[in-house]
């Protein structure tokens, strides 16, 4: 079992995310005494009778003043079973881009709802973002269960409604778990609660400790974006020419035949080098240096792929964008696309549709994509680039859209259309979404 789980939290403002994260840290004894003292002091200064655990997490002054989380905070905690890297993302609508950030590397997401309110607009929006970004597993934490008198019926109704929504987004039932919790009181976060005798599932922490983690895509075809060419030019290493990078997918061994893209030149791996010595094999997630049999022209931005199972090399790109900038996207926009280690100029030639995460339907040919909106677009690239579908590989199917003028990141880009296509007619605002078009159903995976 993997010893590391990367997870993200999501939920709307005031659902108690920071308190839940504070509770996880507090109850796993990951908070050290001086930090806790500071929280006790600050809580007392504010006239609170009990420590406000959200103060463990809300680090910026404006966050503490407003009592909300503004930016993604990364938290680290460990139990004897696992280490956790937790991206705590804000719930406010204007900060949805941070949910996209947290979700992009998460293996699991904890989505919070307020038991008094149930599944609301933000819940649907966040679940859609999590599904789109391929977060493999979801937990719905039905928080503030104490405020509905630990009522089983309320919990079951919310759980059922959420499962229907998640299923429509492509999640299988075993990928989604609902847990009744009270972050404030501690029910079912770390300790099993006596107040919910009707709930037989795991506590949140038990689930996080035991949930299977999708491994790096070892059995996918080999993909290796070249970051840097290592040429020591020293007496000892006069002819050394190594291609440094992180294996994005698959495995590689000396003797394997590779192809360099976009040039299409072929060669054979002669050596996999690291500072700790040569390797007999390298796999997804490892930073290594490859040496090849032939002296061919390779530089930063090229992609080394296994020969025979290569990504398509194209200058026409169909993609889904999560638009993260204040200024809207319109057809004709000139942007930069950063894919792997290559940055190319690009033009958005067409806005194909805008995804309505409430109705799980799409609106064709929108005139613009606004902040926090998700849509499918067509892009033309200034030069051909090797591209995998996002649903095939999160690492080689993702890209950034960058403003050429000020350098800001405008959008998260996903090659293809990772969300299932849905039949708008069968979706109602209330969220009773059983029917769907399963022809194009894509399961969210890495």
């Amino acid at each position: 079992m993997s010893d590391l789980l990367r997870l993200a939290t999501a939920g709307s403002v005031d659902d108690g995310k920071s308190t839940l994260v504070g509770r996880l840290l507090y109850d796993t004894k990951s908070v050290l005494a001086d930090t806790l003292d500071a929280v006790h002091r600050a809580s007392a200064d504010r006239g609170l009778a009990t420590p406000d655990l959200s103060l463990l997490v809300d680090g910026l002054r404006s966050e503490r003043e407003q009592g909300i989380t503004i930016d993604v905070a990364y938290r680290y905690f460990a139990t004897p079973k696992r280490s956790f890297v937790l991206a705590d993302t804000p719930g406010h609508v204007q900060y949805t881009r941070n949910t996209v950030t947290g979700a992009s590397t998460a293996q699991l997401a904890v989505l919070l709802v307020d038991a008094r309110k149930g599944v609301i607009e933000q819940t649907r929006r966040h679940a859609a973002v999590l599904a789109l970004l391929g977060v493999p597993r979801l937990v719905l934490a039905v928080n503030k269960i104490d405020l509905v008198d630990y009522d089983e019926v309320t919990f079951s109704r919310i759980a059922k409604e959420f499962t229907a929504h998640a299923t429509a987004l492509g999640y299988t039932e075993d990928a989604v778990v609902e847990i009744p919790v009270s972050a404030l009181a501690g029910d079912n976060v770390v300790e099993k609660s006596a107040n919910t005798p009707w709930y037989e599932g795991p506590t949140l922490l038990e689930h996080l400790e035991n949930v299977p983690v999708e491994p790096d895509p070892h059995d996918a075809p080999f993909r290796f974006p070249v970051q840097y060419v290592i040429r020591p030019r020293t007496a000892e290493h006069l002819d050394y020419r190594g291609y440094a990078g992180l294996v994005a997918a698959g495995t590689i061994k000396p003797g394997d035949e590779i192809v360099v893209l976009p040039s299409g030149r072929r060669s054979t791996v002669t050596k996999i080098d690291t500072a700790d010595g040569e390797l007999t094999e390298a796999a997804a997630g490892q930073s290594v240096t490859l040496l090849l049999a032939d002296d061919i022209d390779i530089s930063r931005g090229d992609l080394i792929s296994v020969a025979g199972n290569e990504p398509k090399v194209t200058d026409e790109l169909d993609a889904t964008l999560c638009w993260l900038a204040e200024k809207p996207l319109r057809a004709g926009a000139r942007v930069l696309v950063k894919h792997g280690t290559r940055t190319v100029q690009a033009m958005v030639t067409e806005l194909r549709d805008r995804f309505d995460e409430q109705k799980l339907s799409s609106v064709d040919s929108p005139s613009s994509l606004e902040l926090n909106e998700i849509g499918r677009v067509a892009l033309r690239l200034a030069e051909p680039v090797p591209l995998d579908d996002y649903s095939f590989s999160r690492r080689t199917g993702s890209f950034l859209v960058i403003d050429a003028a000020d350098g800001s990141t405008l959008a998260a880009g996903l090659v293809g259309a990772p969300l299932p296509e849905l039949d708008a007619a069968s979706c109602t605002e209330g969220g009773d979404i059983a029917a769907q078009d399963d022809r194009a159903l894509v399961s969210p995976g890495p």
């Binding site: 930090t35 809300d58 840097y228 020591p232 800001s408």
Partner: protein, 305 residues
């Protein structure tokens, strides 16, 4: 190509952290013109340098080092710093806070601490050398404001950090674009915890300055911290110098960096101590972070790390 590899060859936590840090170093080498590594001789910057060496092996590290020297350093650390630089054939730039005080660009503070004075020499050096990427050893587990830091953190021409204007950091695609005069602070150790750092130092056999391990030292108690005598001052009235067995968990300006009572004389003992500790390393030993609820955030906004 479809063979599954045995789980035993999968990366463990330290392997993942190392691989991520190496990837970050190589991204910067590929995209920036004039990167520099901040290097003080402390454990985090020593670890940073170790990872940089591994990232470019067998070629030399393609960046110089920069130390903003408060003049309040421990002799053992400066000796160690210079030895490491010589050993790896690296180039070290030193910006001495004393020089800024001497020519009037900075003024000594009434409390004598020089940690907050590092910001101006740092920014001046970045401007003077036209550094466009500055590697620091900051970790997100250190402090609440640091928990919100990006791995690539854009700074204005005045070195300022605006937490609301930070770019979303997606997948492992880092956006280092910046305008002339702006620079990017880069934190390859973002996802490491203090315990990860020590476990990795043990695994790799990385040498550190002796003061990280227990030793006898003349110290006095101030604000609950054991401070040592030095160029920054000594015990005031009511404080008495006494001989204690101590070690340092962080190494910084001697006027505000405290020692902890410890008999952890080697790496194994230190790891056991860190794992059992109920205090964070900054909370235990850094007076500068205790000033206010937002002390670190304020210093970061001004251009401090």
């Amino acid at each position: 190509m479809t063979a599954k590899i045995a789980t035993s060859t999968a990366l463990d936590t330290l392997g993942r952290l190392e691989s991520e840090a190496i990837h970050i170093f190589r991204e910067v080498a590929g995209e920036f013109d004039r990167p520099v590594i901040l290097f003080s001789g402390g454990k985090d910057s020593t670890l940073l340098l170790h990872l940089a060496i591994k990232a470019f092996y067998p070629a030399p590290v393609p960046f110089p080092l920069l130390h903003v020297d408060t003049g309040h350093n421990f002799d053992e650390v400066i000796e160690f710093r210079d030895r490491v630089v010589a050993q790896h054939g690296l180039r070290l730039e030193v910006a001495k806070v004393q020089d800024w005080i001497d020519d009037g660009r900075l003024e000594e503070r009434p409390d004598g601490t020089r940690n907050p004075l590092q910001t101006v020499p740092l920014l001046d050096s970045i401007t003077q050398h036209k550094f466009d990427a500055v590697f620091g050893g900051g970790r997100r587990d250190e402090e609440r404001a640091r928990a919100k830091e990006r791995i690539f953190s854009l700074r204005t021409a005045f070195g300022q950090w605006d937490p609301k204007r930070q770019r979303p950091e997606l997948w492992n695609l880092y956006n280092g674009r910046h305008r002339a005069g702006e620079h990017v602070r880069v934190f390859p150790l973002s996802n490491w915890t203090e315990l990860d750092v020590w476990n990795y130092i043990e695994r790799e056999g990385i040498e550190l300055p002796d003061i990280y391990y227990s030793h006898e030292r003349e110290v006095f108690l101030r604000d609950g911290m054991w401070l040592a005598e030095g160029p920054w001052g000594t015990a005031r009235e009511g404080e008495t110098l006494q001989r204690k067995v101590v070690r340092y968990r962080t190494v910084g300006d001697g006027s505000c960096t405290g020692a902890v009572e410890s008999d952890a004389a080697d790496i194994h003992a230190v790891i056991a101590e860190v794992a059992a500790s109920r205090l964070t390393e900054r909370g235990a030993t850094r007076a500068d972070d205790r000033l206010s609820e937002a002390a670190m955030e304020d210093r970061k906004r001004e251009g401090y790390f």
